[in-house]
């Protein structure tokens, strides 16, 4: 079945070539970083985590969002998601893979990565993150390929897949929660040390993931014969709407606690985010764009005319993904380091090699996504054309 990845038209191979070129660019940049060290990035002694770990945070949300289609379909028999489920699972696989790759490229001594398994530390959330991410990757690989294979043979999937599917639901929540716990247990970083961090992660995941899924479904509908169905897309839009709303609510709640208490510990972070701190205003434009996009998305999503119009829906979904990418992929990680424990404000600007490596990893994920979706499309085509 997987050999279908090699069967595609000109559009498919053009796309694959684009990803391969970008992967090559990333590899060249990474080989430089591997031999020279992380001084090629914009990281510093004060801001020691940046773009890479930000992408981990964002993508773990995208990966977990597969549960938003799996849960209604398998647990509540919501049949409209029938063709969407495989798309969700096959989105989760590259997302989790990219998460793990982003941690890998962030390491100072990547050749020693097996030390995490050889000498694990139970109290370290990073160990647990490695375990749950690997487990989720395996789960989705098995579930996705087995269910697709069963569909290809026009048979019900084997019985042992059911428990795996049920396990994948809380596991999806766990990968997110464990990643949030990576941050929210550190007394050194008051910006992260809030109980609402894990719920915020979940809310933004359930907004960005389904939004991305809608976009992918619309792209597939536009360029191929695959149509997940109007009902599925409509339901996903509803999920995105409420998730964005909850995300905004959580942000406002955080803003209230931080600003009303007027504690410098809390206020400083929001100052840096929205107006700048001690003259460092680099982050502010990004955050205002993020909030503007979020606001527009909320208004748009509540307008039925927008939801019914494919082009407008796609635009709103792009806006949601970009807004949450700025919030999680850019702001959330680096801002916790500003100011440093000794009160210094150090700006963080990703460098060209850093961006190149990021693009390379994304390209690798998108290549996997393209190939997996190609397999789905080919299987579906065969099913629909054979009498």
């Amino acid at each position: 079945m997987l050999e279908n990845g090699f069967r595609g038209g000109k559009q498919y191979w053009t796309l694959v070539s684009v990803w391969l070129i970008l992967i090559a660019v990333g590899l060249v940049a990474y080989s430089r970083q591997f031999s020279e060290g992380l001084h090629l990035t914009g990281l510093s002694r004060d801001v020691s985590w940046g773009l890479y770990i930000g992408q981990l945070t964002f993508l773990v949300g995208v990966a977990a969002s597969a549960v938003m289609v799996v849960l209604p379909y398998y647990l509540h028999n919501y049949k409209a998601f029938g063709k969407m489920v495989i798309l969700g699972e096959f989105l989760a696989i590259p997302a989790v893979l990219m998460c793990m790759l982003f941690v890998f490229v962030d390491l100072g001594q990547p050749t020693r990565v097996m030390n995490v398994l050889l000498h694990p530390s139970i109290s370290s959330l990073m160990c647990w993150d490695m375990v749950v991410l690997s487990g989720y990757l395996l789960l989705n690989l098995v579930i996705g390929t087995v269910t697709l294979e069963a569909e290809r043979k026009e048979m019900p999937p084997p019985r042992w897949v059911r428990p795996l599917i049920y396990i994948s639901i809380p596991w999806a929540v766990s990968i997110h929660t464990v990643t949030a716990f990576l941050y929210s247990g550190l007394e050194a970083r008051p910006f992260w040390m809030t109980a609402i961090l894990a719920p915020r992660f979940l809310a933004s995941a359930f907004a960005s993931g389904p939004a991305l899924l809608i976009l992918l479904a619309l792209i597939l509908r536009r360029f191929t014969r695959f149509d997940p169905g109007k009902d599925a897309i409509a339901k996903l839009t509803t999920i995105v709407t409420y998730a964005v709303l909850v995300n905004v609510f959580f942000l406002l709640v955080e803003l209230f606690t931080g600003l009303y208490s007027d504690m410098p510990h809390h206020v400083h972070f929001f100052e840096y985010l929205f107006v700048g701190l001690h003259g460092h205003t680099g982050m502010a434009p990004w955050m205002w764009v993020c909030e503007a996009l979020t606001l527009c998305s909320v208004v748009a999503l509540f307008t039925p005319a927008v939801r019914r119009n494919t082009a407008l829906l796609a635009t709103v979904c792009v806006a949601v993904v970009i807004a949450i990418w700025i919030e999680k992929g850019l702001a959330m990680v680096t801002v916790a380091f500003i100011p440093s424990p000794l009160g210094k404000v150090t700006d963080y600007v990703p460098t060209a090699p850093e961006v190149a490596i990021t693009v390379g990893v994304y390209a690798l994920g998108f290549l996997l996504l393209t190939v997996l979706y190609r397999v789905v499309l080919n299987v579906r085509d065969r099913l629909e054309t054979t009498p």
């Binding site: 992380l38 002694r45 941690v103 007394e187 000794l342």
Partner: protein, 267 residues
């Protein structure tokens, strides 16, 4: 592919994987690896601590001597880009070292007082809690140690340290270490490579030989500055640190966090 070929390939792959995974288990180290005497190692009956007298460290030469001694003793690089600098013991202003003890009406002389800062060797170190490979751990004698061989450079410890005590090797430090005219390094201490995190280790290698940390030694050699840094055993009621802690008004950094530093400051 027809079904039989598929099944055959699956079974072969599984067999190969199984044998491949099992091979390392079959190889046992030949011969015997020897043993160690049981009375060696780190003793839990000692609790190392440091007391810093801020007033005696006001002079620039005292603090310079500390940093320089540490730099030379451990082959620390001198990297001009402050984003990538490596520092184990250095000077910061009082208001940054003790942000919870500062207020806007405090005298500038107090707020901007230079204070030596370093790893606090906490009793409940958050960095140890988060390290995924146990590359940093708290020894029985209170020192929070680093194992440079095991560190994977994930920098989780740097995110977790509430005091900003840790430095990461963003590049190979060797070109930045000041060598003498023969090209020799200042000391025999192993030079770290790129990609690992490092910090003050209370000169564990010197303590092992019964000595004192390099910074304390350097300060004691300056006339009039003896006692600016006192290093000793908290478990011994007659040690220098125990006596000072009983007698003087001491504070430590950010006590509300519960990390319980082992570095105390006489204000």
């Amino acid at each position: 592919m027809n079904e039989n070929r598929r099944n055959f390939l699956k079974k072969t792959a599984g067999a190969v994987l199984g044998i491949g995974a099992g091979l390392p288990l079959g190889q046992v180290a030949e011969g015997a690896l020897g043993k160690h005497p049981t009375d060696e190692g780190v003793s839990g009956s000692t609790q190392w601590a440091m007391v810093i007298d801020i007033k005696k460290c006001l002079g620039e030469e005292v603090r310079q001597a500390c940093s320089e001694a540490c730099r030379k003793a451990h082959n620390l690089p001198d990297i001009p880009n402050t984003s990538h600098e490596i520092k184990w013991i250095w000077t910061e202003e009082y208001q940054h070292v003790f942000p919870d003890q500062t207020h806007p009406q405090q005298a500038t002389g107090v707020r901007e007082q230079p204070v030596l800062t370093m790893c606090n060797h906490c009793k409940h170190p958050p960095c140890v809690r988060v390290c995924p490979t146990q590359a940093t751990w708290r020894r029985d004698d209170g020192i929070v140690m680093m194992d440079m061989h095991r560190c994977i450079g994930c920098r989780y410890c740097m995110a977790a340290c509430p005091y900003g005590s840790r430095s990461f090797n963003f590049r190979d430090p060797d070109p930045y270490i000041a060598k003498d005219s023969n090209g020799k390094l200042p000391s025999d201490y192993p030079v770290r490579g790129k990609g690992v995190v490092e910090k003050c280790t209370f000169c564990a290698e010197r303590i092992r030989e019964g000595g004192t940390p390099a910074c304390v030694e350097a300060v004691d050699a300056i006339p009039g500055a003896k006692g600016a840094l006192t290093f000793g055993d908290l478990a011994d009621p007659e040690s220098g640190v125990s006596k000072l802690l009983r007698k003087e008004h001491t504070i430590c950094r950010r006590p509300s966090l519960g990390a319980e530093p082992s570095v105390y400051y006489i204000v």
